[in-house]
C-alpha cells in the first residue's frame, strides 16, 4: 500500500509568528493521482504548495515524497515540477531552451535534450514552436510551454498554482482538456491549486477542500457533491442553498426526521451534523412540477429572475428560510414572474442535512 503513495503529508503546520497559515494538515496522494487543493483565498492551499516544492519550510510535521522526508531539503534536492499562474517563462530564452532548462540542470546530453523537448512540445500540442520566444506566444500557449517545462525532467510530482487563473473562460476550458489528456497519458502525480470549483470538478480524481489553514474534507468530486459532510463544503463546493433545519429524530442509518422550509419530512444526513443543522438545497434541484418520487415543497415569492442562456436563475424569498437561489431550465421557468407567489419542488433524495465543520469558527 505504501508503495502506491507518492506524497505523504504528515501533520504539517506553518506558522508566521502568531498567524497559523497551515494547521496540522495530513494528506496522502497516490501515485498517478490528480488531486486538487480547493479553497477560498487565504485558506492555506498555496502555502502547502510552497512547502511541497521547497520554497518554504514547515514549522511542524513532515512531508514525504516517494517515502523520503523532503520537508527540510532545498528545492534542488527534491524532484518536483511547478507551473505558475503567471507562467514564469524565461523571457530571454526560446521555447526549446525553457523546456530544456531542467534537463540541462540534470546534465542530459544535448541530443537527448533536443529529442525530449520535441517530445514534450508535441505532448502539449506545440510541436514546431521550439525557436519562438515566450512573448511571441498567446497566454494559453505560454502556459502549455510552462507545463512542458515542468514535465520534461519527469519529476516525481507536478504542482500547479492556479495555472489557468490568468486565462479567459473559453481558453480555460480548452486548457482543462489539455491538462486532463496529459494526465491520462502520463499518469503523473499532480497537485492542482484553485479556488474555482468548476475547475476542480473538471480535472480531479480527488479534491481536498481547505479553509482557515485546515483540511476540511478530502474526497472524490461525486462524494463531496452528494455527501458534503459540512455546511462549508455544501455551500462552497456544491454551491447549495443552506436553510435552517430542525432535527426532530436522528436515525441510525444516516437518515433523520427534520422540519425545514415549513414542512416535516425524512431525509439523508451527511457527516456528524455538529452545531446548527442546515438543509442543503442544490441550485439545480428545483422543479416546477411535483416529481414522481418523494419531494419537498418550497413556497415563496419570486424576488428576481435572471436569464443565463439555457438556464434561468430564480431568487426566491421563502418564509422562515430567507433567500433561496434556484437554477432552472430557461424555457419552462419563463412562467415565473417577479412578485409571483409560487411553489417549487425539490426531490428529497437530492437534499441532505449537514452541520458545521468547525462549530467554534462559524459557518
Amino acid at each position: 500500500m505504501t508503495a502506491d503513495i507518492a506524497l505523504d503529508i504528515q501533520r504539517v503546520s506553518r506558522r508566521f509568528g502568531e498567524t497559523v497559515a497551515l494547521d496540522e494538515v495530513t494528506l496522502q496522494v497516490a501515485r498517478g493521482e490528480f488531486l486538487t487543493l480547493l479553497g477560498p483565498s487565504g485558506s492555506g492551499k498555496t502555502t502547502l504548495l510552497r512547502l511541497i516544492v521547497g520554497f518554504d519550510v514547515p514549522t511542524g510535521g513532515s512531508i514525504l515524497l516517494g517515502g523520503r522526508d523532503i520537508s527540510r531539503l532545498t528545492p534542488a534536492d527534491r524532484s518536483a515540477g511547478m507551473v505558475f499562474q503567471n507562467y514564469a517563462l524565461f523571457p530571454h530564452m526560446t521555447v526549446a531552451d525553457n523546456v530544456a532548462y531542467g534537463l540541462k540542470l540534470r546534465k542530459w546530453p544535448k541530443e537527448r535534450r533536443r529529442e525530449r523537448v520535441a517530445e514534450m512540445l508535441e505532448l502539449v500540442q506545440l510541436g514546431g514552436y521550439q525557436d519562438r520566444y515566450p512573448r511571441q506566444l498567446s497566454g494559453g500557449q505560454q502556459q502549455r510551454v510552462a507545463l512542458a517545462r515542468a514535465l520534461a525532467y519527469d519529476p516525481e510530482i507536478i504542482l500547479m498554482d492556479e495555472p489557468l487563473g490568468a486565462l479567459d473562460r473559453a481558453l480555460r476550458i480548452e486548457m482543462e482538456a489539455v491538462i486532463r489528456s496529459i494526465h491520462r497519458k502520463l499518469r503523473a502525480t499532480m497537485i492542482y491549486v484553485t479556488h474555482d470549483q468548476q475547475e476542480a470538478l473538471a480535472l480531479s480524481d480527488r479534491i481536498a477542500i481547505m479553509r482557515h489553514g485546515r483540511l476540511v474534507d478530502v474526497g472524490t468530486p461525486e462524494r463531496l457533491y452528494e455527501d458534503p459532510g459540512s455546511t462549508f463544503v455544501a455551500s462552497f463546493f456544491a454551491n447549495a442553498n443552506l436553510v435552517d433545519a430542525q432535527l426532530l429524530e436522528r436515525r441510525g442509518d444516516g437518515r433523520a426526521r427534520v422540519r425545514a422550509v415549513g414542512s416535516e419530512f425524512e431525509c439523508r444526513t451527511s457527516g456528524p451534523v455538529l452545531g446548527r443543522p442546515k438543509l442543503a438545497l442544490r441550485r439545480r434541484s428545483f422543479r416546477l412540477a411535483e416529481p414522481d418520487g418523494p419531494s419537498i415543497p418550497i413556497r415563496g415569492r419570486v424576488a428576481e429572475t435572471l436569464l443565463f442562456g439555457d438556464e434561468r436563475q430564480i431568487v426566491l424569498d421563502v418564509p422562515d428560510a430567507g433567500r433561496v437561489v434556484a437554477l432552472m431550465e430557461a424555457r419552462t421557468s419563463a412562467v415565473l414572474g417577479v412578485g409571483d407567489d409560487v411553489q417549487l419542488h425539490v426531490p428529497r433524495d437530492e437534499t441532505v442535512v449537514v452541520g458545521e465543520a468547525d462549530p467554534d469558527q462559524g459557518a
Binding site: V53, G54, F55, T74, P75, A76, R78, S79, A80, G81, M82, F84, N86, A88, L89, F90, P91, H92, Y101, G102, L105, R106, R149, A150, Y153, L159
Partner: protein, 301 residues
C-alpha cells in the same frame, strides 16, 4: 493657450467660463510643454552645450592649435595621469557595480521593512553628504594616525600607509559612486519577475545557478548601462584624487586644473579635457552598441 478640441468639448454643454467644470486632461500640448522645459533647456545650452563647443574650438585654436594635442601626448606626467585615471576608473566601476548590484538586489528582495530602511539610509548617506565631508570621513579612517591604523597597531601589525595611495582614491570614488549604481540597478531588478527565479529553483537550480542563468542575463543591459554611467563619471573626479591621492595618484582632472590655474596653459588644458571627454563618449557609445540601443533605453528609462 489655444487648446485642441476634445470630444467632450464637441458635446453642446453650457460654456460657462467661470465656475464651469472642464474635464481635466492629463496630456500637455506641445507649446505649453515647450515653455515648461524652456528654463532647463536654456541652462543646458548655456552651461553644457556652449562650454563644450567653446572648449573644443579653443583646444584647436588657442596656443599651439592642433599642437596642443601633441603636447598632451608628449607629456609624461599627463600620460601617467591618463593611465591612472582610466585604470582606477575601471577598478572603481567593477567594485561599484558589484557592490551596487548586491545592495540593489537586497533592497528589492528583502522582506523586512527595517532591513530595507537601514539599507536605503546607508545607500543615501554618501549621496547627501558634501564631497569634502565624505573625503574627510575617509581620511579620518585611513590616515596614519587614523582609526584603522590604530586598530592595526593595537593588534601588533604595525601602521600602514593607506592615505595618499591609488587604493585610497579608488575607495573614495567607490564610496561616492555606489548610490548611482544602486539607483540605476534597483530599477532594473524591480522590473524582473521574482517568480522566474522561483521557477528556476523549482526545477532544481541552486540559488547561484538561478541568479547566473536567469537574473544576470535579464539584468545585463541595465548592468552595462550602470557600469558605463559609473565609469564616465569616475574619470572626471577631481576633489577625491586630490584629497586622498595627494601626489601619488594624479587624476586627469587635477592635471587639467593645474594647467589652467598653475601654468595658464589654456590650450593644453582644453586639449586634455577634450580627450577625457572623448573617452567618456566612446565608452558610453560602446555600451550602447554592446547591449543594443533599444534594450539600453528600456533599462535606463
Amino acid at each position: 493657450m489655444s487648446q485642441t478640441a476634445t470630444p467632450a468639448a464637441a458635446v453642446p454643454s453650457p460654456p460657462s467660463r467661470r465656475g464651469g467644470r472642464r474635464r481635466w486632461n492629463p496630456t500637455v500640448g506641445n507649446v505649453p510643454a515647450f515653455l515648461m522645459v524652456l528654463p532647463l533647456l536654456a541652462l543646458v545650452v548655456g552651461l553644457v552645450l556652449y562650454p563644450l563647443v567653446k572648449l573644443t574650438i579653443d583646444s584647436l585654436t588657442q596656443d599651439a592649435g592642433l599642437g596642443n594635442y601633441a603636447d598632451v601626448f608628449a607629456s609624461d606626467a599627463t600620460r601617467k595621469a591618463m593611465v591612472t585615471t582610466l585604470l582606477a576608473s575601471v577598478v572603481v566601476t567593477v567594485i561599484t557595480v558589484t557592490v551596487g548590484a548586491t545592495l540593489a538586489w537586497y533592497l528589492v528582495t528583502a522582506r523586512s521593512t527595517l532591513v530595507k530602511a537601514v539599507l536605503w539610509l546607508a545607500v543615501l548617506a554618501p549621496f547627501w553628504m558634501g564631497t569634502v565631508v565624505k573625503n574627510y570621513a575617509i581620511i579620518l579612517l585611513i590616515a596614519n594616525d587614523g582609526v584603522l591604523n590604530d586598530v592595526l597597531s593595537a593588534l601588533g601589525l604595525g601602521r600602514a600607509q593607506l592615505l595618499y595611495t591609488t587604493g585610497a582614491v579608488i575607495m573614495g570614488i567607490v564610496y561616492s559612486m555606489v548610490p548611482y549604481a544602486v539607483f540605476s540597478l534597483y530599477g532594473v531588478f524591480v522590473g524582473i519577475d521574482q517568480s522566474l527565479l522561483a521557477a528556476a529553483r523549482s526545477m532544481g537550480a541552486t540559488r547561484a545557478r538561478a541568479l547566473r542563468t536567469v537574473l544576470l542575463p535579464l539584468a545585463m543591459p541595465g548592468i552595462v548601462a550602470s557600469a558605463a554611467l559609473v565609469f564616465a563619471i569616475s574619470i572626471g573626479f577631481y576633489v577625491t584624487p586630490v584629497l586622498l591621492g595627494g601626489g601619488q595618484a594624479p587624476f586627469m582632472a587635477s592635471v587639467i586644473s593645474s594647467n589652467i590655474f598653475g601654468y595658464y596653459d589654456y590650450g593644453f588644458a582644453s586639449a586634455a579635457s577634450v580627450l577625457l571627454l572623448l573617452v567618456a563618449v566612446v565608452v558610453l557609445a560602446a555600451a550602447l552598441l554592446a547591449v543594443g540601443r533599444e534594450r539600453l533605453m528600456r533599462a535606463v528609462a
